[in-house]
Amino acid sequence: MADKIATREAYGNALAEFGSDNRIVVFDADLSKSTKTDNFRKKYPERFFNMGIAEGNMMATAAGMASCGKVVFASTFAMFAAGRAFEQIRNSICYPKLNVKIGATHAGLSVGEDGASHQAIEDIAIMRALPNMTVISPADAVETKYAVKAAIEHEGPVYLRLGRLNVPVIYNESSYKFEIGKGIVLAEGNDAAIIATGLMVSAALEAKELLQQEGINARVIDIHTIKPIDADIIVKAARETGAIVTAEEHNIIGGLGSAVAEVLSENYPVPLVRVGVQDKFGKSGKPDILLQMYGLTAADIAKSTKAVLKKKAGR
């Protein structure tokens, strides 16, 4: 297996790497060692501000700073960004369309031992419902790096969903290209399409291998931008495979699965099975064990692919 790096680590490294741009300012809420914004602080201490354990204030302060021409990355755990500070993000950042980039780390169950109170499984749903918001959920370290770069260049609010867990690096930096709103076909196949985001992308690639052993040829698509969603790549997959599985480390309500369902039902309805957290809270435990307990493994994706193929055959 390839190297494993957490997307939060790649995020902190990217901020440090692209931080020479004087417009960039980084805020954190007493979690800089965990969100890895400390990597930026070490290089550019004058443009790093610890805002303390006060996420609501941090977001609205970031908005004020962005209104003065800065590109502000405001970081905390996804739970306290999308959750605690939702209304500041809505009214002070999204409504005036300010250049605040929310670096939300520790998203999903893979937070692990800290348990349900710290495992955001609804943040995609909350953030994608906001006008003017772009929602990005990178799959690996390479994608994260270029997502940060794109977020800097993008005019307006961005929500970057990042993880705590070390995850496989699936992309080769020399050939990788990131474009907001454009999904990536990682593997071709015409029996079914697995559309995944975040750490579920590498699981989807593993699932493809498992399915291949049974003679099933699945397409694998990485949807790194959940909003604006790449409707073209989804409709094309629906048309060419006739069966879709979505995979996300998020509640199946309101996240990637819902976004894909919206595109399919309005454009090209085909059978769909959503792999994700089945509308329940997480718990403490080792990340890998939790992903198994909640049905978020390659085997679960493979099983759901077979289920969707049955639905397709029964049409």
Binding site: V25, E46, R47, F49, M51, G52, A54, G56, N57, M59, A60, T61, A62, A63, G64, M65, A66, S67, C68, G69, K70, V72, E87, Q88, N91, S92, Y95, P96, K97
Partner: protein, 281 residues
């Protein structure tokens, strides 16, 4: 900028009050009480203090203003229109579907509005961010904000206060529009934020008190705020909710309701009388 005469500022304040009544009357909704209580503060800031450019509302070296109590948009719009950011006749489109004058201020739609506000507690945080940006860029521009006293019940206000003192934002001056009333009644009955001065001091701010309807005293307080180094200043402005319209004064009921035709005419008559007296002086 040439300092205007006190008498002129007083006249502006009356004109602003007249606009407030007309805006709320024509919209048949809005918040006259708190708009009338912060009228002198906004008048002094825009006509005697702040460096702004009506031709270039987004001039980057301008002073900034954040109306943290965003529901008092009628006062802000009135001052901005009098100042020349947009035509005064537009004030009568306030809160209408084809107008850019939203019920609560939007920086994207209204020339001269520096921050979209309306959800209490967030404006002061944004002002803190602006002051931090000013410090970071070593600019001499100043940031002003007006808070309501009921607004102090929002926890975010205190987070913002903590941050402003922590980062020694002496380029930030906040006004507390201390009219003592909120929608449901007296602030001390609903959820008392008192003693406010002690709390602000404990949060590390330079605390000044003034009569929020006395233009000379407001000017004097702003001067003192500018002289204070190393910490942000809050000016506790004692005010009367509904100030200048007899039947609205000190009535919580006028927090968010519009006058009818008869009430509008009475308010205008009262304000016109004050304006006429100022003309004679």
């Amino acid at each position: 900028m040439k300092k205007p005469e006190i008498k002129d500022l007083k006249k502006y304040a009356v004109k602003v009050r007249k606009h407030i009544i007309d805006e709320v009357y024509s919209a048949a909704s809005g918040h006259p009480g708190g708009s009338l209580s912060c009228t002198e503060i906004l008048t002094v800031l825009y006509f005697a203090e702040m460096r702004v450019n009506t031709k270039q509302p987004l001039w980057e070296d301008r002073d900034r203003f954040v109306l943290s109590k965003g529901h008092c948009s009628p006062a802000l719009y009135a001052v901005l229109a009098e100042k020349g950011f947009f035509p005064k006749e537009d004030l009568l489109t306030f809160r209408k579907a084809d107008s850019y004058l939203e019920g609560h201020p939007s920086m994207r739609y209204v020339p001269g509005v520096d921050m979209s506000t309306g959800s209490l507690g967030q404006g002061i945080s944004a002002a803190v961010g602006m002051a931090m940006a000013g410090k970071l860029d070593k600019k001499d521009c100043r940031v002003y904000a007006v808070l309501g006293d009921g607004e102090l019940q929002e926890g975010e206000v205190w987070e913002a206060f903590m941050a402003a003192a922590h980062y020694k934002l002496d380029n930030l001056t906040a006004f507390l529009d201390h009219n003592g009333l909120q929608i449901d009644g007296r602030i001390t009955d609903v959820m008392s934020p008192e003693p406010v001065a002690d709390k602000f001091k404990a949060f590390g701010w330079n605390v000044l008190k003034t009569d929020g309807h006395d233009i000379e005293k407001i000017l004097e307080s702003i001067g003192q705020a500018k002289d204070c180094k190393g910490k942000p200043t809050i000016i506790i402005a004692e005010t009367v909710k509904g100030k200048g319209v007899s039947y609205m004064e000190n009535q919580a009921g006028w927090h968010g309701s519009a006058p009818n035709k008869e009430q509008r005419d009475q308010a205008m008559a009262e304000l016109d009388k004050v304006l006429a007296e100022l003309e004679v002086e």
